[in-house]
């Protein structure tokens, strides 16, 4: 023992090695390696999976050319899984003139001067269309979820989602018959020629200001959206969204393709970008939790 003072300590240490080597789970795998198969987050509240979401919401369009639309509505969505959901959204809106429209109207004449293609204030304003109803049916993907801390005091869950689907809008135009009086837009006016009755004088119609505004009716198109849920508790979340409704439209209701008449050809595919906020209520109100 005196000659080999390190033998016994070494034996004791060796007996402890199997304990270190037992980092093997019941299936014979290395514990450290088996962590690779684990989810990124454990005991996570499934705040959306299998739940129905009802959201009273408000939204307004940004970058509108002639009329803003301020709208209130409802969004209903069912979350099939943690990431996938289907839903629909509908809004009723009122219209307000943009600054550009007000500036133009302020410079237009009240009466229609002869031989002047400038529209009157009434002609210009009544050709503009409104969007009283719009909405979408969509599929939504929620690939990101997480937690955030605000001012180091408030800790809340959130998720990002992206949506795509079918957009719908009902457009209206209030152009009265007295203003939109041309029943043959672009058609020439024939003035009888007393000297030659078979060859009347032809006056081309270069005035589109009295043409009917072809910018009303039901429109369908593409819907793209994205947003963020900020969960205030397990069943209530603030919902901030950006929604883009793409459909064919001619907001001015006047000639846009320079053919001196208003027709369906003046419509073109336009973005109608809205920013919205809502309060989402989830049912059932108690969420599940992952293992």
């Amino acid at each position: 023992m005196k000659r080999y003072p390190f033998v016994l300590p070494a034996l004791i240490l060796l007996t402890s090695v199997p304990a270190l080597a037992q980092e093997i789970d019941d299936d014979g795998r290395n514990v450290a390696m088996s962590l690779a198969e684990q989810p990124a987050v454990r005991h996570r509240l499934l705040l959306v999976k299998g739940r129905f979401e009802l959201t009273p919401a408000f939204e307004a369009n940004v970058n509108a050319d002639y009329k803003y639309t301020l709208s209130g509505g409802l969004r209903a969505e069912y979350h099939l899984s943690d990431m996938l959901s289907v839903g629909a959204v509908g809004f009723y809106g009122v219209s307000l003139n943009t600054g550009l429209t007000d500036r133009i109207l302020g410079t237009l004449p009240d009466e229609d001067p002869d031989a002047d293609p400038t529209p009157t204030r009434e002609e210009y304003e009544q050709h503009l269309n409104d969007m009283p109803i719009h909405g979408a049916a969509y599929v939504s993907l929620t690939p990101w979820y997480g937690k955030l801390a605000a001012f180091g005091a408030s800790f809340v869950n959130f998720d990002f989602y992206f949506s795509g689907g079918l957009a719908f809008a009902q457009l209206t135009s209030n152009c009265r018959l007295g203003v939109c009086s041309d029943d043959d837009p672009g058609g020439p006016t024939l003035i009888p020629n007393p000297d030659d009755p078979e060859n009347p004088t032809i006056i081309p119609d270069n005035n589109a200001n009295d043409d009917p505004a072809v910018n009303e009716g039901n429109k369908f198109g593409l819907y793209l959206g994205g947003g963020i849920h900020v969960f205030l508790n397990n069943w209530l979340a603030l919902d901030f969204t950006v929604r883009n409704y793409l459909f064919s439209n001619n907001p001015s209701g006047l000639d846009t393709n320079f053919d001196y008449r208003v027709s369906g050809a003046d419509n073109r595919l336009l973005n109608h970008l809205f920013l919205g906020v809502g309060a989402s209520v989830f049912f059932p109100m108690r969420p599940d939790r992952t293992p």
Partner: protein, 316 residues
């Protein structure tokens, strides 16, 4: 003397062996059929719990301890996002560490900004002008006084494009709207970071981010676009306060991505409607129409941080 040394060595080795063996046996005993109840998980452990291991405190700033691995955001995050083996390799954690010791209950903030400089080339685009759209090119340099407060300077040049309604109004209403283009701008700003968080992408990868507010004041040079090209334009020097909110995503310890909104507020001077009465730029400028402008821009940039790394000075 030799006899005393033998006894000391023996006692230390025996103690180590028994402690390691007993500790592992105890852990195995607990692992079998272990059930965590949610409420109990949240209870703080007793201070004298021998199973709780605290990491050694980090060395003082600028004095990395012996054997301390170089901090690495990818390595730290890899410990969570990647297989455990890969995470150890990326983070250069000790090879002799066992798995559960690598798991901490609360992660450190993965990115520290204190006394670091951020260089951010940026692009921006107008959000709220239906007549003329600007794309801004430039950058921003910020110095973080604390981890949440920064001072910075920014500078941009602009490229303008007239939008469809400009031509449409001219053709339909026979009116030429007054529009100005922006040439360049600069500002001094403060930034404050009140919100930070993390999110998982597709339940696989965890990304850390933060949100911050920016406010400052600077100037913008705008230039009138004459309705009649026969007239000369004039320029305006505009004092320009700005406010904004941005989101920053941390990619590495020296690289981040930022997106945000910024509102530049100024009183711009537009060409007078009766320009024919003021043919010279000076006369037109004296009779210009003043309008309050909110120039809202969406901005995106990639940030490079200096120093390129940092060291923690608190307990993990």
């Amino acid at each position: 003397m030799m006899h005393r040394l033998c006894r000391v060595v023996f006692a230390i080795a025996a103690g180590l062996g028994v402690a390691v063996g007993a500790g592992m046996a105890h852990a195995q005993e607990e692992d079998e059929g272990i059930v965590f109840e949610e409420d109990k998980v949240s209870e703080p452990p007793p201070e004298s719990d021998p199973n709780i291991e605290m990491d050694d405190p980090a060395p003082a700033e600028g004095e990395p301890g012996e054997g301390t691995p170089e901090p690495d955001l990818a390595g730290d995050l890899a410990g969570i996002d990647q297989p455990a083996g890969a995470g150890q390799e990326a983070g250069k954690l000790g090879e002799d560490r066992v798995s559960w010791q690598d798991i901490v209950v609360v992660m450190r903030k993965p990115f520290l900004k204190l006394q670091r400089v951020e260089f951010m080339p940026m692009l921006g685009v107008t959000m709220n002008d239906n007549l003329i759209s600007h794309v801004q090119f430039g950058g921003q340099v910020s110095y973080y006084l604390t981890d949440v407060l920064a001072v910075g300077a920014e500078g941009y040049v602009y490229a303008a494009t007239l939008r469809e309604p400009f031509d449409e109004v001219a053709f339909q209403a026979r009116r030429l709207p007054a529009v100005n283009q922006y040439n360049y701008s600069a500002a001094l700003n403060f930034s404050y970071v009140p919100i930070y968080g993390k999110f998982a992408i597709l339940d696989q990868h965890i990304i850390h981010w933060e949100s911050y507010f920016t406010g400052g004041v600077g100037f913008t040079q705008s230039e009138v676009i004459p309705r009649d090209p026969a007239y000369q334009p004039f320029t305006n020097f505009l004092v320009t306060p700005n406010v904004g909110v941005s989101m920053r995503f941390f990619l590495t310890k020296f690289l981040t991505v930022t997106v945000g909104l910024r509102d530049y507020v100024f009183i711009d001077q537009f060409e007078p409607a009766d320009r024919v009465m003021y043919t010279t730029p000076e006369a037109a400028k004296e009779n210009a129409d003043s309008v309050l402008i909110n120039h809202l821009m969406f901005q995106a940039g990639v940030s490079f941080w200096w120093p390129m790394s940092f060291e923690y000075t608190t307990f993990r």
